[in-house]
Symmetry: D2
Subunit: 304 residues, 4 copies
């Protein structure tokens, strides 16, 4: 039997002493003001037990982590047809994200780069009666927590500074790969990214992906095959230009966000989330990456 | 003494018999409805004489040709400072126009690719009291023709379908290379492209570039050096991905537009404009290119 | 208990009826003459049992599959220092493989693209007394089979037509990322690719990667962590531009070769290899991909 | 009447006081040992007079300037058929020269980037009985100077360090755009680049391009149209990634070499060459560019 609590405590002790805590994202005021020393982990076993350390009950902006949840909702509603409009290959290009989209004539590389997530947002806008209300309801349902909500200030800030996303959405539109108005799709997209969760809520929201598609309340949200495939995409595409590195060092499917959160999971075993707002050069939580690497090393658990 | 009228007549006779007249741009209704058989040339000598053949007095949408005129106005007002925000190198990339902009961190390659012209439009929006009114006044002044005007329907159509330009403007904005609002800049930009001229008016508007900066009415609009430099940019960047080919086959500085117009000039000698709405695969007037090639071959005149 | 033999038989029956068997690689005569109808599978359980169907005992050219074995040898000798000279990120670019190498200043994206494997070959040439003899000895040792050998005709043919590999090696050299002479490194590299194995031998050679670094004879060749990391790279980079697709559809770490072979594994459970020489558009065995997809679907086994 | 000698003297006085003389190319010992203070100009009028200042009679390595002469020889022998194997568009890409070649499937952008010049070298190797002897004979003929020769040490050094050129030639070969053996073509290419000339000899060698195809001895080497077209390519492609800048600042067709030489010409008027071995960041002679800019400003002469 692994003593998870001791392992989390050890990691916490070691990681908080790290001098270089990375750089906080500063492009919107709401993210810039976070204390760099914040650090929390939550571990949720499929068997039911859970463990935590540090600031695991503080809310943070999940940002790109939301892309996994919007993909899950789109797949649960539309199934494999969504793959007509985007691909599942790693982007592999640290330099030019719009160029790849341009080169590939408006078909985003995968659902976790911005242009791909915008296509998923477009699919949901077409499908849902009230996209913002319905998406939030979905997240509350799968995590069994009605306290989860948007941060409207964050969404508003992103709308004012998100020129690169406007560029991507207009480029998609120029290639006929966006059905709805750019402003409508991006309004939904920016809200989706603004969702706030605690580490603990995040592991609950991702429970279904480690549990063959069934959420905490045991409802079947995705088929087993759908859950497996989303995990595969997280592994190959979940960490921007560091996906290979994360697979190599940590060895779990996962997803990071610019707010400093990371969630990762071992199918049938556990979901773990970390929050440490300082980012490394590639935009992933610096201490979060370290903590997860140590976690899989010390517990000797990974998909490989 | 060259018999220009005979040469124009010969070219006209030969070119109108060409079976493959290229493809008309169809992305906006106003351009799509033009008769493919339209063809006109106007030649204006610096010495004063002028010659024409065919539909040289019909108005057409000058589109990208307007980029030379907005550059001239910006240079006349701001001088060399404009080069802090864009470069003068050929784009050379037939595939990915936004990728080059992304790779070069928001500095457009030259003022004649869309992103470069949008930066020029931004400069003018910052400078001018009433950009649309003032720009039109400038064009009427240099061409000595108050009958030149915008086509508001064309401008409106472009606004509704110009997603790629919205993408470019937002990408510029994300790199802090756009001072004004995207919508304001593009509104001006789309109007500028919608200007209509006849072949005859077009040669008059470009007179100053072949005449050391002095327009038809003999007013000094640009310094000699400014005129020379705009001509150099036309030669290296005036024909999208076919600039080398045009220099090679025709050997004159010039600029084309998707409406099927081309204007070219031999400094101190003449300005010539052609209109034939069918485009070749690289987006330049097919018969227009042929006509100009024959003109420089038959008159034995080029800058090389 | 899964009835593996029945599953293999079913897959065999279904797959051999497929009309479109893909295209055989024709760039060297030795590959071009293979019968398109050849098809074999071998499954080796870590527990000891093995199962097979079809042409599982015919030898074929393992080609790029050898890149995993040369990486394993280099890592076993040099450890993590090899990562100073290449990265572990997916290449993600279907179009320009040399351009990525050029853009990233001679650091190959990962050890499974050609330029990366050439760097590994260079490392081995520097390390080993007799690279070709020693590498073959390593493969015979880990697979426990002294019958495995190079095909010298294939190596020779590749040397005569491998201009793209000469381009890559010279580009590496121009970036000071190749220590030895281009000809010496490529001679070793082409021999390495020419190794021939049966499906059965291939599963034995890869046994150590599914068995925490210990080969069939129970010798420790790699540490557990090294084996895990090689599996991670196979998952993110093992299938050229189809790595995401293979992870998505099959969900196992694996590696393909242009000879039509694929090997994949589930850590601690099994190694499976397939051979079907017809390739899909992305250069991976068409029927091999299908067979493996069905295998993980029918056995309900994958890392996700 | 322009007082050319005074203008050259003034330029000389001003330029030699410049503190930042650029950086000397160091990749081969023969270039690295040149004195940075060397500076010479030679001006040859078509009318016959010539003027010079500084080290105009010292020999230097013409390097890439030779590409214009090999193009001239190829065109004089083969005519327009050479354009089946390469294009005439500016490369426009400061970052990735091999990538453009790869993206465009082995068709070099123009004859003045390395891959394009290698294709021209291949054409000459196929055509000429003794390529090295015949090419030298051609240059001696057009310049009327039997003292021009290869520098065999320089050719040898380039052969030992020219890995990027080997990469380009092999990439061309992989796209079937190289008829002869890589080693044979590059041996010729490296010799061609090693030719040494004085400023004075260089203006004589380029005389035919400013004189409608007739060389100094009044023999017709090229048709008028061929000369004109080579001039056009020099203007759009003659200065690596600074072609637009040179056209913009200087306004003459020209070609630079990494040895610090530049030659430029005004058709029907003059040929001017400058040598100053320190290079700017884009690989063109720093003081040479300045000198030519001043020359066209002070003489008020350019093609624009």
């Amino acid at each position: 039997m692994i003593d998870y609590q001791s392992i989390l405590n050890n990691i916490y002790q070691e990681v908080i002493q790290e001098k270089d805590k990375g750089e906080i994202a500063t492009y919107i005021p709401e993210l810039a003001n976070i204390d760099k020393n914040t650090f929390g982990i939550h571990l949720q076993l499929i068997s039911g037990d859970s463990f935590s350390v540090g600031d695991s009950e503080k809310k943070f902006s999940i940002q790109s982590i939301s892309k996994v949840l919007s993909l899950a909702l789109a797949i649960s509603k539309v199934g494999t047809n969504i793959w007509n409009r985007l691909d599942v290959e790693p982007s592999g290009n640290p330099f030019n994200h719009l160029s790849l989209l341009e080169l590939e004539k408006g078909i985003p590389r995968n659902p976790f780069i911005n242009s791909g997530a915008i296509v998923i947002a477009d699919i949901l806008v077409s499908l849902l009666d009230s996209p913002k209300i319905d998406f939030l309801a979905f997240i509350r349902e799968i995590s069994g927590d009605s306290g989860i909500d948007y941060n409207y200030k964050v969404a508003d800030s992103e709308k004012k500074t998100g020129f690169n996303n406007y560029a991507a959405a207009n480029l998609l539109k120029s290639f006929n790969n966006l059905e709805n108005d750019v402003d409508v799709v991006l309004d939904f997209y920016f809200h989706q990214c603004s969702i706030e969760m605690t580490c603990s809520q995040l592991t609950k929201a991702f429970y279904l992906l480690a549990n063959k598609g069934k959420c905490l309340a045991n409802n079947k949200i995705l088929t087993k095959s759908q859950a497996k495939r989303i995990n595969a995409i997280m592994l190959t595409c979940g960490f921007y230009d560091e996906a290979g590195e994360f697979a190599f060092e940590v060895g779990l499917p996962g997803k990071s966000g610019v707010g400093g959160g990371i969630v990762a999971l071992l199918p049938n075993e556990f979901i773990i989330s970390v929050w440490a707002p300082g980012l490394n050069e590639r935009g992933n939580s610096k201490l979060g990456m370290q903590a997860l690497e140590q976690f899989t090393t010390q517990t000797n658990q990974s998909i490989f």
